[in-house]
Amino acid sequence: MTEENTVQTLPSGAKPADANAPLVEVKDLEVTFKTGSGDVHAVRGVSFDIHAGETVAIVGESGSGKSTTATALIKLLAGNGRISGGRVLVDGKDITDYSERQMASVRGGTIGYVPQDPMSNLNPVWNIGFQVREAIRANGVATGKKNIEAKAIEVLHQAGLGDAERRLKQFPHQFSGGMRQRVLIGIGLGADPRLLIADEPTSALDVTVQKVILDHLETLTREKNTAMLFITHDLGLAAERASKVIVMSQGKIVEAGPSLELLQHPQHPYTKQLIAAAPSLASRRIHSSVGEHLVDDVKGPDLLSLAEKHDDTEAAAQAKPVVVSVKDLRKTYMIRRGSFRSDPLHAVDGVSFDIHKGTTLALVGESGSGKSTAARLVLGLEKPTEGQITVGGVEMADASGKALFDLRRRMQVVFQDPYASLDPQRSIGAIIAEPLKVHKVGDRKSRHARVSELLDQVALPAAMADRYPNELSGGQRQRVAIARALALKPDVVVLDEAVSALDVLVQAQILQLLADLQEELDLTYLFITHDLAVVRVVADVVAVMEQGKIVETGGTDEIFERPQEQYTQRLLDAIPGAGIEFGS
């Protein structure tokens, strides 16, 4: 490869005279997947250019074909997929008919790739150094053991891994998600590619880590004049980081253009819908739409207009009785260090809060802040080291056996991953009826009736009861999980990152559903999330957690408009696109 010298000179070294020719030209690209039930056309006639040094973002829901388009550029489609039409020109040469061997010379050196999931993209049996050196050696960027090692340390430094020297001998499982993502970015940049494809490079990470990594990428690509194509479902992120945004839906480009212009003056209805559904700091609390208007599928919920009707919730919230009361809650884990020593880890360190009936408390924080542990303690799934939890006047520590069983009935939970939280072997009806069975509520017939009622409540057809989880989309599955949580008519529902795994449009629908159910059934929510934009639209009261402690608590508007703590401010600043006014 000749790319190593192109850092200073223009990256057009390998190209003919025309310096303005695009680095990558995609023309009428079509990708087809062969499946058991016929061919699926995942990408249908997509065309765009990427010029040297340019940052382009492809935005869309899952299934829109955005990741498929990106992997088609380096021909790394899944086994049953192929490019069935169109051309991909890299430096003017069509790579669609390249052999695997020829592709090996394009990949890494000309086009680098940063995959989506940091957990599964590093080989668990080789150390980090090995996996980075491999990328450097394969593209001939450096030769000789010493030079390769030095280059490996250099790229890891660039990717933001400060103590790379010390960490080369470590294995992926010893790294956190954020650190692994940096390693993957290091690998992607290892051979100084002229285009870096980053597929949701930060969606698995906390906002603050995300900001650091994206800042790094931006600096790096600017310094080396590397072009970047990044794939995201986050409009704010796209607007903030890319100069050009391409919006995809159902395998087609529906709209493309300069990012700010596109997001402020969207032309296509789909783009408008995406922008309307994306919760941002400017959004307001969602309230029940029941009796106002039904959420119609085309337009999506109009969150802003809904919110304005109810602005007096905080005061009202205080007037209602307290359902969940947590006082000075502590949970300490002993972490082993070596053979005989172990140090205490204060996962939850003196947390107190009250939740009033029919309101939502959002517990916000980064991973490791203790918010999920707090949720498990409240659910009684783990015993607190110290402190009191009172639910509906019953002290949890006093309850045991029958009393605890009854207490559990009044508190239900919805988890983050709708794919993992439903038993694939059981029908939807059986899944929803299980809590009723466990708590011996009703007989077969009445349970059946209740399942239909619940499905109706979460806006799913009653016929769904006979289907199985794998036949459902992510959003439908999450509705099933909510129906299951509601089966026992609980007072309190703990929503543990319940919308974090969903696309913006689906997320908006589920949030609307939750608001409707809250209004209808007078539910109390404990909402655990890392996503502040979501908090803005669901919560009445926000508690910000950092290292096991609540650092700030207050009404949602108050926290967002006048954060008192530096940590809260930092979280708010890290939200992508925070400062951008979206159009509609």
């Binding site: 695997e100 990949r107 890494g108 050196g109 668990p124 593209n139």
Partner: protein, 308 residues
């Protein structure tokens, strides 16, 4: 790591006591009088019988006999066979033979399992893969003793390519045929493990990442596909090593190999309680040690596993 080994060894103590007790109890309950059996058809002098009974503690209650046995075991005295040989001497002669046989079988098994499993996994659904799966099905359905007799008859007697029996000539080449047959009857499990992991590894995200780095298939298959797939195969092979050492009785009987299995078989036929119990005890200890080694090997192969 050290703590883990110590803990595993401590755990081995109740296992050891339990198995030896069970073995001793079962052999004790076998019908027939071992002392009488010693004399065959002759009618012994009752005084002599009594003396022998005392010598072997056969006149004492069962539990006392067991304690005597444990005491002897810890002093390294495994007793004598009825023909007057030290059990330790007999084992010292038989053990290397069995070890040689099993080592050869396990190496052949490992090579077959990894190579065939890899090729089959890389060409999933192709002719090679399907043929291999059918052959594997046939091989795993043939009982080992049938396979051994067939091999002995066709390869040994009809074709004359290998010695029909081994006897005193326990060289590597003389024992190749029985080792190969053992390997063929057990490689199927390992091959399936390898094939399965190879298929899984090929669609793993880290393999796609390796491709995206610009690596060629020639590098990715050994480094990222085969290396990761070896973990279950190696542990399976190591575990079957333990099982085989204790389970070569049939093979050694058919091919007349003077190994541990044959000694054990002869002792059972003769009702030599002490010998049977001693051999089985040694085999138990060996099996426990091999299993601990397998678990430690796992940690060496897979860096994610740490024992504390």
């Amino acid at each position: 790591m050290l703590m883990y080994v110590v803990r595993r060894l401590l755990q081995a103590i109740p296992v050891f006591l339990g198995t030896t007790f069970l073995i001793y109890f079962m052999v004790f309950s076998m019908p027939g009088d071992p002392v009488l059996a010693l004399f065959g058809d002759k009618t012994p002098n009752p005084a002599v019988l009594e003396a022998l009974r005392q010598q072997y503690h056969l006149d004492e209650p069962f539990f006392m006999q067991y304690l005597h046995y444990l005491q002897n075991l810890f002093t390294g005295n495994l007793g004598e066979t009825f023909s007057g040989q030290q059990v330790t001497d007999v084992l010292a002669r038989a053990f290397p033979v069995t070890l040689k046989l099993v080592l050869m079988a396990v190496i052949i098994e490992f090579l077959l399992a990894t190579v065939i499993g890899l090729i089959s996994g890389l060409r999933k659904g192709g002719i090679i893969d399907n043929t291999n799966l059918v052959v594997a099905l046939v091989l795993s359905s043939v009982p080992p003793f049938v396979a051994l007799f067939l091999a002995q008859y066709f390869i040994g007697i009809k074709l004359g390519w290998a010695p029909v029996t081994v006897g005193a000539n326990t060289t590597w080449s003389a024992m190749f045929l029985p080792a190969l047959v053992i390997a063929l009857t057990i490689y199927v499990t390992g091959m399936r493990l390898m094939r399965g992991s190879v298929i899984e590894a090929q669609s793993a995200d880290y393999v796609r990442t390796a491709l995206a780095k610009g690596l060629t298939r020639r590098r990715i298959i050994p480094v990222h596909v085969a290396r990761n797939s070896l973990i279950p195969v190696i542990t399976n092979t190591a575990a079957s090593f333990g099982a085989l050492i204790a389970g070569t009785t049939v093979t050694e009987g058919i091919f007349n190999i003077p190994g541990v299995g044959k000694v054990l078989f002869d002792a059972i036929i003769k009702g030599e309680t002490a010998t049977v119990v001693s051999i089985v005890t040694i085999l138990t200890i060996l099996y426990i040690i091999v299993n601990i080694l397998v678990d430690l090997l796992y940690a060496v192969l897979d860096p994610r596993i740490r024992y504390v």
